[in-house]
Amino acid sequence: MSDDGPGDRDRPPMTAARYADGSVTYPPHPVGPDGSEPVAEVDLSAQEAEVVTWTTSHATPPGVREPNTLAIVEFDLDGSPVRALGQCTTDDVAVGDTVEPVYVPELRDPDAGIRERESQRWDGYRFRPVE
């Protein structure tokens, strides 16, 4: 579970969905908030975001790092806000911090928890404060 992910060529997108009404969600859903279908994908991986709130969890489930600092962050896509929740690269975060996504091949041990390894992806993006 390293913070040092692969280079840009191998890094998958941090895919959000844009819907017919202009709204954007991360993660994507089959339908948007107003029931419309997605019309485009938006890659958030190169965008900066602002920390809305954060917590450090000291009682984590099997296969999850401890402590586990998490944040809800908000991206600004030309005036359209979209939020994401994910791990942070550091425990030193604060509300209002600017962060950037950092790819991680495996966010938790897929074999330690109750959910089946093959049922979902385990890679994703942590949030790193921008100096």
Binding site: V52, T56, P61
Partner: protein, 384 residues
Amino acid sequence: MRDVAIVGASMTRFGVRDGWVMDLLAEAGGDCIADTGIGPDDIEHLYVSNMASGEFEGQTGVPNALAHDLGAIPAYTQRVDQTSSSGAAGIYAAWQSVASGASDLTLLVGGEKMTHRTTGQATDVIASLTHPAEYKHGVTLPSFAGLTARHYLDRYDAPREALGHVAVKNHRNGVDNPNAQFRKEITLETALSSPMVADPLRLYDFCPVTDGAAALAMVPAEHAHSYADTFARVTGIAGATDTHVVHERADPTHMGAVAESGREAFGMSGHDHADVDVVELHDMFTILELMQLEALGFEEPGEAWEAAMDGRTARDGELPVNTSGGLKSKGHPLGASGVAQVVEVYGQLLDEAGDRQVDADVGLTCNVGGFGNCVITTVMEASA
């Protein structure tokens, strides 16, 4: 639709229990049958509220097993799973069965066996309700609470102590509940200095892992006097859902499904907030008690923390909240909790709450699944 009455209730002692889920369900179900003064073969429908007996102990098929254990064969049986709100979802199913005319006597039993698992394992079973995009980050229900509490305290400039007051109040109430898991008062200092669990929330901001079961018997209100001199009528009940992905909600401090279910339940009941004398809320985390008070309309947004600090929600306050001790002190055996909330209000309405008794003719319960993902609100009133 027929009016529905609750004519019998029971709950096991909550806490660390030797028995497994079937033992707990049978104990509560048998006690409720005795409390109602019926025979098990009188039961027409039997609902079992349970979130995860398969995941916790490898026991599935609990409704059929319980019907056999209670001697209720050939009653129709059904399991109801709505995560932490399984209990109230069972109340909704039981209410529907009687209100629709499908059943003239319905038994609902909710229960869960959890304490044989480590806290981490139990947390993971519960966290399995989350979206894959949340689960892979190790997001748990307590971490949702930490994220939301920080946002609430910052947004409303509320003191951290307010959450401690919720814990102190509910522990105080639990002292007088013989079935509560924790029957010990705590001080504000203890709450505020306990180990950090999900910053800024500490150990005493969280409910424990619990074994237990609770049960209710429902009949058409027009038949209620055949079973009891005094009973409680379910005058309003409604459920609602919110987004599966928690961070997609526009306002993290607003519980939309609580508000929606509350509006519908109040509208159905013909009561408003001023009529309500006692409330049981889903205080799985202290912050949730404040957020439910606001979403249900008992307090304005951002002001429920003041009610916690000035004693308005204490047992001798304007609106007693969680006289049972709440999930915080009484415990939270997932499938049992929503049922046990109604067991408490039923006791209050019938003046059978012992040392916890308040003056109550109308009561409300709110049972929350996930972090506000699924919610059932129930309004009841005393009848004689």
